[in-house]
């Protein structure tokens, strides 16, 4: 069994607040992994640490059999991963095609490949008609689609997606789901966070649930389906009892 992601005791503190505590994550290569959790549970912090956007307070991380403790190796492994971060990573003053070209060049792809993939991605994301617009003029959904295109462009072995479907229209969402499925089918790994349980249930093969910075569940979708639904499992893991407790007094009368 080859592991695409492996963390051990991964911890991140912000002052006295512990955002992620002792995370032991194991994601097999070729899996579609859904990382779930309520707001503020530590999902984005985990992705930021795994992708090098945030330094962990303690713990170890391995991506695609490479230890991220060594800064030079951590940089080199980025050649094989694609990321859609929470707050995106776009340059305001570039057009979509320019931005994708820049990303392609930085991944050392041949110019013809960059051109061809840019065109395909822009068409797929329905951004081809926006050639003259700068990214600062894009809506949130368009920015998200462009960030997704940039993550897919280098054809990475491991893809990190932080809320990839948020703000994306239904047509693009469908197309994106199909793309990600075929992406996984050919051996790549996808690690995504989402609040939409239905999407995770449809797409993912494995699920991890994080609550209050701790990994509380790490199971396959088959196991979940054998015992019920993802929503039931999720609510049980993050505090089903709270739902009953959190009722509004003035609506109960």
């Amino acid at each position: 069994m080859t592991l695409a992601i492996e963390t051990s005791g991964l911890t991140r503190r912000f002052g006295s607040v512990c955002a992620v505590e002792g995370l032991d994550l194991r994601v097999e290569a070729g899996k579609f992994y859904g990382f779930l959790g309520p707001n503020g549970a530590g999902k984005s912090t985990t992705i930021k640490m795994l992708t090098g956007l945030l330094a962990p307070t303690s713990g170890t991380m391995r991506l695609l059999d490479t230890d991220l403790g060594d800064p030079e190796r951590a940089r080199a492994i980025k050649q094989r991963i694609g990321v859609v971060p929470e707050n995106l990573a776009l340059f305001d003053n570039l057009t979509a095609r320019e931005y994708l070209t820049f990303i392609g060049r930085m991944y050392l792809l041949p110019p013809d490949t960059v051109r061809a993939r840019c065109q395909e991605l822009l068409t797929m994301m329905d951004l081809a008609g926006e050639e003259t617009k700068l990214t600062l003029e894009y809506s949130h959904g368009m920015k998200k689609k462009l960030a997704l295109a940039a993550a897919l462009l280098p054809d990475p072995d491991l893809l990190f997606l932080d809320e990839p479907f948020e703000g994306v229209d239904a047509v693009a969402s469908r197309m994106l789901r199909d793309t990600l499925k075929s992406f996984v089918k050919r051996g790549a790994t996808v690690f995504l966070t989402s609040h939409v349980l239905e999407i995770v249930e449809k797409l993912c093969t494995d699920v991890g649930i994080i609550a209050h910075g701790r990994l509380v569940q790490q199971v396959s979708m088959a196991e979940i389906h054998a015992a019920g639904t993802l929503e039931e499992r999720f609510l049980a893991a993050v505090g089903d009892g709270q739902v009953e407790a959190q009722k509004l007094s003035w609506l109960e009368d």
Binding site: T51, G52, L53, L54, A55, P71, R75, A76, I77, K78, Q79, V83, P85, N87, L88, A89, L90, F91, D92, N93, L94, R97, E98, Y99, T101, F102, I103, R105, M106, Y107, L108, P111, V114, R115, A128, G129, E131, T132, L134, L136, E137, A150
Partner: protein, 572 residues
Amino acid sequence: MYLQHLRTLLWLRWRLTRNQWRRGGQVNAILSLLVSILGLGLAVAGGVGGLLIGALALAKATPQATMFAWDGIVAVFLFVWLLGLVTEIQRSEVIDASRLMHLPVLLREVFFLNYAASHICLSLAIWVPTTLGLAFGLAVGRGAHQLWLVPLLLAFFFMVTAWTYCLRGWLAALMVNQRRRRAVIMGVTMFVVVLAQLPNLLMNVWRDDTRRVGAAVAHDSGKNAQVVRVCTLANRFAPPLWLPQGAQALQAGRVWPSLIATAGMGLLGLLGLARAYQLTRRFYQGDDRRKTAPPPVATPATKVVRGRLLVERTLPLVPEPAAAVACANLRSMLRAPEVKMALVANVVVFVILAGGIFLKHGAAVPPAGRPFIALAAACLTMLGLMQLLFNQFGFDRDGFRALVLLPAQRWHILLGKNISLLAISLPVFVVLLSLLTVSAHLGPAELLQACLGFCSVQLALGVLGNWLSILTPYRIAAGSLKPTKAKASSQVLMVVASMFMPLLLLPLFVPPLLGFLCNEFTKVPGTPITLLGAVVLLGCSCLLYGCTLKPLGRLLQRREQRILLAVTSEVE
């Protein structure tokens, strides 16, 4: 207005300010407190000073002299006021109305609160007590009727602030479109840059002419009287000058002109405020009852991309990732209004400051001075681009996250950034050098030496720029040169670097100095020595740059997460 709403909105503003101070750290809080205390001290000093000047000096002046004195006060106030406007040009309202529109709050409540809060600024805090002190001083020196100056002054300030608020609202409405927003900010900033240079322009370019004109006028009393007549006429018809007009009348013992001026300015102020409210309503609620719907605009056909994009270009001898960063960064900078602002301001300031001097006296520069003058182009270019050079990641904002995620060697990123900056600074240098060549009659040797000096300074300051960009990054708000969330330590380091940058440029002047000494004290010709020195300096700069690039790349890699935090965080 419900009192509870007002109380809640004031509480909201206070909490936002307090939280912002907390996030800024203790040093920032102390600095803000010091500025507030300084402002208070200046206000008190202004009030007392005004009182004394009014009672002791202005009280004895003739009505006409009084009018000219108030003319001066109004002119200086408006100048300072306009300069202050540039920092407020992006509608930085005390309470962002768009965040309250879904609540049971009336827009006019927020509007009036924001308008009232727009008075909290340093220039008004100093000028209002100073001018009121002057009015009370005049009342002490000339009699109680001078107290009519108080409503006159208040009407003046009301008129100015109301129309300023209206202007800000109009600009904010214009800036809804993101591209136009940046163009507006750039245009207004450039206007203020030119305005701020007016005193220099007067001093350096027109001073001699005005002296001559002044002498002629002194000989011709008729012309003198004409100047006074024009001034008086301007005071009668230009609304901001109704204040001096009213003050003149009061000095002459006539109250009615002052009352009319008060009423006129008050009415104009009300008109400005009404217009500002109308614009605010249109801005936040899309309420435009006057206008008919615009005709539908045909969607332009999709532009077909032909040829190679700038971001696709390769650079000879430059590694591919560095070339990609250089091209993308250049493309981005060429579109960024903040970069255009820096460039245009550079040329404008040079033309106004140096141009005034060199165009007048350039021909008088002795040959020995020309090698030094030639280097001014390189120095001014780099001084003008200091903010771009010393904070290379601050302009990337969220784009810096892309750089962190990339697998590229970090020294490639630095190299790419430096190359793109060279592409920006080179045209500025060429323009400045051409101006100098024309004005100071530079020869080929001086031009060559200036080019070598430019390369040296570009490389040496590139090292310093890389180092400072890594150590003291701060976010630059989109479309402006305004730092946001800059740490106190970053600000201090930037100020120190700016202060000592001229010293860092000193080695540039060593080769021409050697050449000069050779010319003066030996039989060795100075020009070859100067050129040789410039080549040696360039060699040293190349060595310094080459030796530091990779270590700085490693430093960037170690600190990139901290830089990311600094350049991507928004402030409320």
